[in-house]
Amino acid sequence: MIGGVARRSIVRGGLIGGVAAIYVALVGLYTKFADLELVGEQVTLGRVLIVAPALVAAYAVTRPRIVAGERRPVAFGPGVAAGAQTGAVTGAAFAAAVWFAYWFGIDRIREIFVSVTEPLIEFLTFGQGVPAGLPLLVGASVVGGAVGGFARTAPARVRDPVSIGVVAVLLLGLLQRIVPIVFVELGFEARWLYRSGSGLTLLGAALIFVVAAGASVAWDRGGERARDRVRKTVETAPAARLGLLVGILATLFVLPLLFGSVISEVLSQVMVYVLLGIGLNIVVGYAGLLDLGYVAFFAFGAYSTAVLTGAFLNTTTGAAEPALSADLNFYVAVWLVALLAAGVGLLIGAPVLRLRGDYLAIVTLGLGEIVSVITASRWAQPLIGGPQGMRGVTKAQIGGFNPQDHPQQFYYLALAFVLLALFVSWRLASSRIGRAWNAMREDEQVADAMGISIIKFKLLAFAMGGAIGSLGGALFAVNLGSLTPASFEILVSITALAVVILGGLGSLPGVVVGALVLIGLPGLLREFEEYRLLIYGGALVAIMVLRPQGLIPNVRRSRELEQEEVTQDAWAKEVTGEAEAIAAVVPGGTLGVEPEDLE
């Protein structure tokens, strides 16, 4: 035992960390990020990833233990020591694997694991070669472990500013493509903060750390009273709320002016997924119907926009008119598209009304796949181009406003759509319809008995979700100007689902944050593109296991949840006064989500 942490737990946690490090190496993340400099020349994302497995393992190992309903945190000193030991185990396991790979022969391993290369070994041994560099690798893990132990057990007044400072530095280091551009657009010099085309300077990093840590201390010292006053003003005074809203809108409006076209393009992709997320959130989050075929609406929106506005088919000889073309103006067509998509939602919804839960998910998955298979088939060629797709989708031009050719202008078009969808969705959620959906999600039979027409509201959810999703498709078509079936595969459904789930089911701010994290970050860091799906998959699993309510949970639902915990587990609170202990002793309480929430 080291300060309440069993030796067995250290060894186990350390070994899991080692396996994680080996996984990261084999999947190719180290080789990919070896040269992505965050701070100076030495702190690269690859090196952060060397330290990370030990850090996370140590953080998990030094967690407070629950003994007989009582929460026993690990003390600071022993916590750091236990963390360092965990890191040592992780580092030893990892170093042993590196040594084994070297001894066995890099080329022989590469026949199976394509990422195992000489540069990888050189990177992992800090350029020192195998026997000499291995102690460095172990050392890095020990440091990582100690930091993990520190992050868990240090007193909050030290830990919070330090971790906020470090996170701020790493984040700004990662955002090295945006922040300098903003500086330049605003007319400031960025050279002191960012090295050209690379990460932060040492001075910049130190400055950011001090500012972020200082802000954290100030926020903390400011005391409950000041924070309460701010919160109360925003909550009660209508003028303050209006001011906040205007402020947010103004910020959204000037963003593309600050960021230039590259980032506006990324933001536009984010907006398309925000739209998909809002639509899917109605179906999954509000009404509780898991739809895995959401790509159907996306494809419908995109292709029907193309057909209605008179796009051309790609053919081997050039371009041809589609079999059916309406040649409408985009701003007329888009409403028609949404209306038609709502109809498609009804058509899809009607036969599957009786299905629930995972059966519904699978049927919708099947319907979505049928749509993508047909889109890509030669059968669909005369109408929508089949495997070759369409091009020349309308430019949606009004005077000098031409969103297709100018990413910044497209941003405004997308913003208008998103704000409209957000408004509709927000009003729906707090209306009678939203409450009916809530009731239906919680318990269909009871809702039925209460006089809620299940059929009506299910169909309404499918129709609303379909209409908003098709707007996402229409925007997508306008943005690209051309369509190929490769953009309409099941991954769209899964990405949209990941956006909704990461943010928190039923939470509109969650959708925005989810899209920013899942679409925006990989868009800004091109290096991530290859690993985007790996990260989505991992994120879906991790969120479901660790935090099923999402990053920004639906307010009403988390309130209900707190209520229940208070009444059910008052005894546990009396014993310890710690919320975490309650969560840990209540079966299923660690999930922090109502079991019926997702049913």
Partner: protein
């Protein structure tokens, strides 16, 4: 309140769903439409002018191919059915369990091919490939259960499903990172190239291997479930896990065993699939996985003979359906739409007979 009419009373008795005739109308219209489309298409195909018609030999090839593919689907479907029977969850990542088995077999067959062992000792090398693939798939399945599904044992039912989708994506892209994105050619021993003639039927040798292996595997599994103590405890947990645990059955261990068996069968399927199509890549698990899941649902999820029957049906439908129905309508490249057939069958089964062919009529959970 006024008087209560007879109709209102009846309405209250029947419940809201039953009172809506138009939902039934939609279903009836839908089924009439489908039946007529299928019949007209088949009629048109069969009455094509003689030079445009498929020959009898072509139809026989379609059927044999369908049977071979279907029996592979059946093996994968068993993995879905066993897990669903016990946990009531769709192990969406089962296709990836299958994919990892195929990769393991590929690396061994590649090495054997280079050393000449594959051609000189084809029987023992095939046996080694089978064992390697089975063990790998089993390992992946057990790890998946331990890491992703066990923490969610008591969570609402959609949580494990979403997790499984995430795990599927994660495993697929892990394989991509580990082994590279390009497809790899899978070598088959020369002894399995060419054809055998059995009872006047000329069959590809690989297809014969597929049939024999699948029959052995399904028979072995049925015996295992029916005769052994472990099989008995699996049935007990499937029937009621709480009562089973009160009877002294270690439920967690039974669940791990179930995943392990599903993985073993997926490993067998992986080798058979690889020698049939002679190519492996990281996304090879998705479509067969869905087809197999459809097979499990079609046969009645939870039922072993149902999975076998469903697999064969789906295989036949994929190979016969486009040729028989779509050719008549002059659809260009009808086989591009074969996956649409799988999904259409899935959707229709769930809408009209959610319990499946051999299931108990209406599945209680639906």
């Amino acid at each position: 309140m006024g008087t209560v009419t007879e109709e209102q009373v009846r309405g209250a008795q029947l419940g809201r769903l039953e009172r809506l005739p138009w939902r039934r109308v939609i279903l009836i219209v839908l089924s009439v439409l489908i039946v007529s489309i299928v019949t007209i298409g088949a009629y048109k195909t069969l009455t094509l002018p003689a030079d445009a018609r498929y020959s009898a030999a072509a139809w026989r090839d379609f059927i044999v191919l369908g049977l071979a593919q279907g029996s592979i689907y059946a093996l994968i479907a068993l993995g879905y059915t066993l897990v669903y029977g016990i946990l009531r969850m769709i192990n969406f990542a089962h296709g990836e369990v299958f994919m990892f088995g195929a990769f393991a077999a590929f690396f061994f067959s590649d090495a054997f091919e280079a050393s000449g062992f594959l051609d000189s000792n084809s029987v023992s090398s095939m046996a080694i490939l089978l064992v390697v693939a089975m063990l790998t798939s089993m390992g992946v399945a057990v790890l998946l259960e331990r890491i992703a599904y066990r923490p969610l044992r008591n969570a609402p039912r959609l949580v494990p499903l979403i997790t499984a989708i995430g795990a599927s994506l994660f495993l697929q892209n892990t394989a991509r990172g580990f082994f590279g994105a390009q497809s790899k050619g899978f070598g088959v021993p020369t002894a399995l190239e060419g054809t055998w003639t059995i009872f006047g039927l000329t069959l590809e040798r690989t297809q014969v291997v597929v049939f024999v292996t699948v029959i052995i595997a399904v028979a072995g599994l049925s015996l295992f479930i029916a005769r052994t103590t472990t099989g008995k405890s699996m049935r007990a947990v499937a029937a009621d896990s709480e009562i089973a645990s009160l009877m002294g059955i270690h439920v967690d261990r039974v669940i791990v065993t179930t995943f392990a068996i599903g993985g073993l069968l997926a490993g067998v399927a992986a080798v058979l699939f690889s020698i049939t199509f002679q190519s492996v890549n990281f996304s090879m698990g998705f479509r067969p996985g869905i087809a197999a899941f459809t097979a499990a649902v079609l046969g009645g999820i939870g039922s072993i003979s149902g999975a076998a029957l469903g697999g064969i049906t789906i295989g036949l439908m994929q190979s016969l359906g486009p040729a028989l129905i779509l050719t008549g309508y002059n659809v260009p490249s009808p086989f591009q739409l074969k996956d649409a057939f799988t999904f259409l069958v899935l959707v229709l089964v769930l809408i009209f007979r959610p319990g499946g062919l051999l299931g108990s009529g209406e599945a209680e959970k639906v």
